[in-house]
């Protein structure tokens, strides 16, 4: 799988080193850990920027602090805008997820680097983290019985008719919602992987086509046919990071205790829908 991807995507620095130093054990080890290494590069870059920005935080911010504060505040507003004031405690998780995914997505556009998110293992890891965190949030905020009740389709209709409906719907709902909970990380991981991998493959193929186009002249430089797709890649990287983070926020929000909406007021999400009650979002 990795060899196939390596041939389709633009070559990374590790691929180039492995090509020129096939006997080197260090390069071989680097190739073996290519995915964690590039993920670590993204993480270390984010940590370095965060440390520089928060080393001496001042009321009148400097350039780096200003940029990082803008990102932090925007992400905080994004999470709180969807979830309401309770969203503040989820801002670090969702914000980190967004910045990490965005950085890893964009890494594929930098020559010599590789997008860790174009590998299914990275996206599965991120989706699994989200899944575990969402279930943990549900268990801690609803309690074990409340969590089971949530999976069984709370709220349910009242009265004798409602009771009869529950007898049929609860087992059905429980199975359906449990499957739904497992489908969520699957859709998250496959969507992100598919988009970023597709984007990187497209760039890699355009790069190869550009080189082939001038190969009859023995030109060392090909036509940069991949350039328009860099712009598309930047857009896709941002959109995929937003989609992954937004869905995470929505999954977290759906797992929190719901209150009946006040008459005539829209949901905090501002998406035009009424506030979800019970399993309204499933």
């Amino acid at each position: 799988m990795e060899a196939e991807q390596g041939s389709l995507e633009p070559p990374s620095i590790v691929t180039v080193l492995r090509h020129y130093l096939p006997e080197s054990e260090a390069v071989e080890m680097l190739h073996h850990f290519e995915l964690p290494v590039f993920s670590a590069v993204a993480a270390l870059g984010l940590v370095a920027v965060a440390m520089v920005a928060s080393r001496n935080p001042t009321m009148i911010p400097g350039k780096v602090q200003n940029v990082v504060e803008l990102a932090v505040d925007t992400l905080d507003q994004f999470v709180v805008g969807v979830m309401g004031p309770v969203g503040r405690k989820f801002t670090p998780f969702v914000g980190t997820l967004f910045l990490y995914i965005l950085t890893m997505n964009l890494m594929g556009l930098v020559p010599g680097l590789h997008s860790p998110t174009s590998n299914i293992n990275t996206t599965v890891a991120l989706a699994a983290t989200v899944f575990l965190y969402v279930q943990y949030t549900g268990l801690t905020s609803l309690g074990f019985l409340g969590y089971l009740d949530h999976l069984s389709g709370n709220p349910r209709p009242k009265g004798l008719g409602g009771y009869l409906i529950c007898l049929i719907s609860v087992p059905f709902n429980f199975v359906l919602h449990t499957i739904g909970e497992f489908i969520k990380p699957l859709s998250l991981s496959v969507r992100l992987f598919g988009n970023i991998f597709g984007e990187d493959v497209l760039i890699g193929q355009m790069l190869a086509l550009g080189v082939i186009a001038l190969s009859f002249m023995n030109s060392p430089v090909g036509i940069p046919l991949q350039f328009p797709f860099y712009l598309l890649g930047m857009l896709t990287s941002l959109i995929q990071a937003v989609v992954f983070s937004l869905l995470t926020v929505i999954y977290l929000f759906l797992m929190l205790p719901h209150h009946p909406p006040t008459t005539g007021t829209p949901a905090a999400g501002g998406d035009g829908h009424t506030a979800p009650v019970g399993h309204g979002g499933h």
Partner: protein, 158 residues
């Protein structure tokens, strides 16, 4: 699509590590800083609003006081003008009375001095006349008769 469990777990651990580090170095301090700044700005805006209200109240007080002071000043000026006029009149009256007094006194003095001068002159003229007449008519008249004649003459002179 091979899912390698080791890679997945490594990525999860890596992400959790990143989350912990960013929470420590970015989300924690910077969100606190943003909240502090937001609260500070809100507090300062409230302060500014309060100060503005105080200032407008102070300005209204100041303007009212200025109007009061101007009113008092106008009244005092009017009083001073009236007092000045009164004083001027009193001074004029006093001066006029004093002048009249001085004039009367001067007249009296003049009259007294005129009377005294007349008496003195009359005496001197009488003496002169007597001495002259005495020289002229020493032989024909005695002293008593001469004096009577002179006095008679003086009376006629009056």
């Amino acid at each position: 699509m091979n899912i390698i469990l080791q890679q997945v777990l490594t990525q999860i651990v890596g992400f959790l590590l990143l989350l912990w580090l960013l929470k420590k170095y970015a989300w924690g301090p910077l969100l606190a800083m943003l909240d502090d700044r937001r609260n500070k700005i809100a507090a300062e805006l409230t302060d500014i609003k309060t100060t503005k209200e105080d200032l407008s109240q102070l300005r209204a007080d100041y303007e009212a006081r200025m109007q009061e002071i101007e009113k008092q000043a106008r009244v005092k000026v009017q009083e001073a003008v009236l007092e000045g006029g009164q004083l001027a009149r009193e001074i004029t009256t006093a001066a006029r009375a004093e002048a009249d007094q001085i004039l009367i006194k001067a007249k009296e003095n003049i009259d007294r001095e005129v009377a005294a001068a007349r008496i003195q002159m009359r005496n001197e003229v009488a003496s002169l006349v007597i001495r002259t007449a005495e020289k002229v008519i020493r032989k024909e008249m005695n002293e008593q008769k001469n004096k009577e004649l002179v006095l008679q003459y003086m009376d006629e002179l009056k």
